[in-house]
Symmetry: C2
Subunit: 374 residues, 2 copies
């Protein structure tokens, strides 16, 4: 194996590959980046227990003198390429399973891992795949994945439930204290199906996706899903089991509706959360719609002090006075994913879940469970 190519181009792809690189793993081979040098391209593969990435790099600067494959210790390799000077980097396999890296005045030799130990990873493309605009996919992930559970006692809730039905794709995530749901319309019609993708996998995928007009292909398999984005193949394992039926949790009748400037509501809650009794890590804040239609956000911590914020709704309030308490973390995280600058908070009752919607966030809702206080 022997080739040279543009260093920045290589680094660009290594940084993507790094997202699936294992730091600590029972299998040391997975700390490696598999590099297959072909006649006119380089294929890079990385994998951890959740996700795998495979990229085919074709570049005008690539000049292959000899084909071959190596398994390179990932962490060191990326740090080295990042710090190299010069435009071009040359790599060649030398005896005793070593990789020689030359650039500018640097001459670096790196011990390779055992290529034979690398597992065989399937990146199977299907004849039937779902095609989706890359920006839309990014938006769905950003608006739902944050609401997945990070606690492993109900593993299924660490995933985002993706449901396809005809032209509709719905994503749902919940950690049982809050729920996020977003539906989009696909360009084509598909057979009904559903999968549960780990939230963390989707968050890694999101980092790779750019804000352009490209499309992502989604190929579903029994236990895996493959996302194909330009020259990147991204595979995630799926979570097994039945996702809870969440539609029944979402109230349909909202006797109280208050429209807020999102920024005003968020900063008032942030200030209140500075001084508040803590429920675990979550600051508990109270919302009180007064008879004069002004909303009070309050918190109280006997040892530290108390906060009273007045927030003026931006529209006429629908409904009568209501008092409700909630975790500030959940509502702030929910508010952050809205594109709309004005949001409506829809209440069913003082101890019932409430939902937040936004005019410019079609088919998206954020549901939050209140907490009981005295």
């Amino acid at each position: 194996m022997r080739f040279e190519m543009n260093k920045d181009k290589l680094l660009y792809h290594l940084i993507i590959a790094q997202k699936a690189l294992s730091n600590k793993t029972p299998n040391p081979a997975l700390q490696g980046i598999k590099m297959d040098v072909l006649k006119e391209s380089i294929v890079i593969t990385t994998s951890n227990s959740d996700i795998s990435i495979k990229m085919t790099i074709e570049d005008a600067s690539l000049n292959v003198e000899e084909e071959g494959s190596v398994l390179i210790p990932g962490k060191y390799f990326i740090e080295i390429v990042r710090k190299l000077d010069g435009q071009l980097v040359q790599m060649s396999y030398v005896d005793d399973n070593l990789l020689r890296i030359e650039a500018d005045h640097s001459d670096i030799t790196l011990n390779m891992l055992e290529l034979d130990d690398y597992p065989n990873i399937a990146f199977n493309e299907k004849a039937n795949f779902v095609s989706i605009n890359v920006r839309t996919l990014k938006t769905i992930i950003r608006q739902t994945a944050f609401a997945t559970s990070t606690i492993e006692n109900r593993p299924i809730l660490t995933g985002v439930n993706l449901k396809i039905d005809g032209k509709n794709l719905t994503a749902v995530a919940t950690d049982s204290y809050r729920l996020s749901q977003k539906t989009i319309t696909l360009e084509n019609e598909y057979d009904a199906m559903q999968v549960i993708v780990p939230g963390k996998s989707l968050e890694e995928l999101m980092k790779i996706l750019e804000n352009n007009q490209d499309h992502v292909e989604i190929h579903f398999d029994q236990s895996r899903v493959l996302f194909k984005y330009n020259n990147v193949l991204f595979v995630s394992r799926l979570l097994e089991g039945n996702y809870p039926e969440t539609s029944k949790l979402i109230p349909q009748e909202f006797p109280v509706r208050i429209k807020f400037n999102k920024e005003n509501l968020m900063t008032a809650i942030e200030r209140a959360s500075l001084l508040s009794s803590r429920d675990g890590h979550n600051a508990i804040v109270k919302l009180d719609l007064r008879a004069d239609d002004i909303v009070e956000i309050t918190s109280n911590s006997p040892e530290i002090g108390r906060v009273l914020e007045e927030v003026y709704p931006v529209d006429e309030v629908v409904g009568s006075p209501i008092k409700i308490a909630f975790s500030s973390k959940y509502i702030i995280e929910a508010l952050k994913v809205f594109a709309s600058s004005e949001v409506t908070v829809n209440f069913t009752g003082e101890i019932r879940p409430f939902i937040i919607t936004g005019e410019y966030d079609e088919n998206m809702l954020q549901l939050i469970l209140p907490v009981k206080t005295d």
Copy 2:
């Protein structure tokens, strides 16, 4: 106590005061910011075991209705002021030792600490003080304090030794593995004296000093030093004991002298330090002046790999081939404080300390002890 003032102006001063605020301290009163509201100014005081800060705030926006003093829980107060909306903030003392903070639509009440528990802190100005340009003081601190020891087994080495002799001010810091020394010329002449100021105190002071043409007054006391910078009084404790006589450590004869482009030398050492045998946290790197006057920087880690960097001196080399090994951390930290883009590394022998100097860094030297290798 009751006043109102511009919120951003108050926050600006609170952020300075925070540098001397204790987070964990045996004395809970020191977690507080002491605020004395006078007729036309506010005085803010904070203190921890090492440093104390006192500021007198006079501002056109300040409107005092009633004088008074309070001791405010620092961490909460700063977070609250940081997050407030509106231009003006109003503060008033209310019964039961509470502070009421009002701004825009926020109404916050904070439990105060016991003012009587706050220690009396002296900020004594002297008739005889040293006056120094603020930029010069920042430079001295930046070029020396990093070389102090962070290990407490020889407490005296955690400080910077400041010596005044006539018009000369010399700062020296060493952790016994490297030494940094810088001398500047003062505008006036002073009696000979010396003190040892904790390096951490100077680094906190440096954060407060701006890059302007103002002067800082340095007032020396028995066990303390006071820096006066515009409306800020900054007091640090001094370290007691005798600072080691460092001048004998500095070699005077340099049979080998190599001039480098600083950036080239630094990046070569950084790359070499990626793969190197570790001595504690410090990567050991070797420098080898070859007979052809090219310098090799190398490292070798049998498990990972090896690096060979060629660095071309920028000028004719003085002296004959030499091999020396050192901690990459020390040389990189030393190179970073040079203003010069070209530096000269001056060698006395393979197991003797070497020093680095720079054409545009007058009266500054960085000394580094080599390490022994096989």
